[in-house]
């Protein structure tokens, strides 16, 4: 999909490991992009470093969204795609937290575009972004209850009385 730039990937990983040490939990290559899993406490600092460093210059937030792996201890996750226009290089950052503490720092101070993405992630996964200027639902109705993209959320509309398991395979 993208041109793999091994030298840039190595440089990025070296810099982050040097700067944040054990906070960089893992890295892997998938779909022509490097993924780095970071400790939640270091998340904002890592993104800021990637943004401010002149050699890396990840100044563009491609996308941001939530993940839910109910079987894992840290069930809720966030995945962030960054793009460096100067290097034409992309990177994926993942960070995880528990169901009980669904908080991540907001990226709106670095990327204004994170505003709506974080609202969407709050809307669908119930992830709270600390420091977001106005974290309200964006796609679902305002008085919606629950977070529909969590795995334990039932897909079907729960207000139907005329559909049951025997006929509709619910």
């Amino acid at each position: 999909m993208f041109t793999v730039k091994e030298a840039l990937d190595t440089l990025t990983l070296q810099q982050l490991s040097h700067e944040f040490g054990d906070s960089i939990l893992a890295h892997e290559f998938s779909y022509d992009m490097m993924s780095i899993t970071v400790e939640k406490e270091a998340f904002l600092a890592v993104i800021r470093h990637l943004y401010e460093d002149h050699n890396l210059a990840f100044r563009f937030l491609t996308t941001l969204c939530g993940m839910h792996y109910p079987d894992k201890e840290k069930a809720l996750g966030l995945v962030v795609h960054l793009h460096s226009f100067t290097n034409n290089h992309r990177i994926r950052i993942k960070v995880f937290t528990t169901d009980a503490d669904p908080h991540f720092p907001s990226l709106t101070s670095l990327f204004p575009t994170a505003n709506w993405m974080e609202r969407e992630t709050w809307d669908f996964f119930g992830i709270v972004f600390d420091g977001h200027p106005g974290l309200t639902r964006i796609l679902n109705i305002d008085d919606f209850e629950g977070f529909p993209l969590r795995k334990d959320f039932p897909l079907e509309d729960q207000t139907r009385e005329d559909k049951d398991d025997t006929m509709f395979g619910r």
Partner: protein, 178 residues
Amino acid sequence: MIEFAKAPDGYSGKGFFVTSFEKAIGLARKNSLWPLPFATSCCGIEFMATMGATYDLARFGSERLSFSPRQSDLLMVMGTIAKKMGPVLKEVYIQMAEPKWVLSVGACASSGGIFDTYSVLQGIDRIIPVDVYVPGCPPRPEQIIDGILKIQELVGKESLRRRHSPEYEALLNQYDIE
């Protein structure tokens, strides 16, 4: 051959015709419906075919679509209504002047259709009263015309006092309107 709407029952003689206001007004109303098309998906495309030359809804006096709710008397809801669209649809209905009728076209508008999911309204009759339902996914233009004819039947026979009756008020109150 052009067929005109039949005159209602009444008494006629040389140079005069007598009938009740109710029948005359019913006749006028049913043959000059101004529909407001609220088309959100594929049923709307079928409606376009219904309005086109082949099926020609104008034959039934409904060629004048009104895109202002204030000047229309038939709300045609055609397509999936997301829950977020619900309040918008209700507002449009409230803005229409009495007397007004609602035609729910297709499975989605009538029951949510295949979209049995958290984000889709499971039938518009949860937020506004519906007069006629047209089944289908999507219904063919013939079915939509059939729905319009059913609406015309209702319009032609409606008592002039119905909209002032306590039953009608109770009906609207069920939907928290007025």
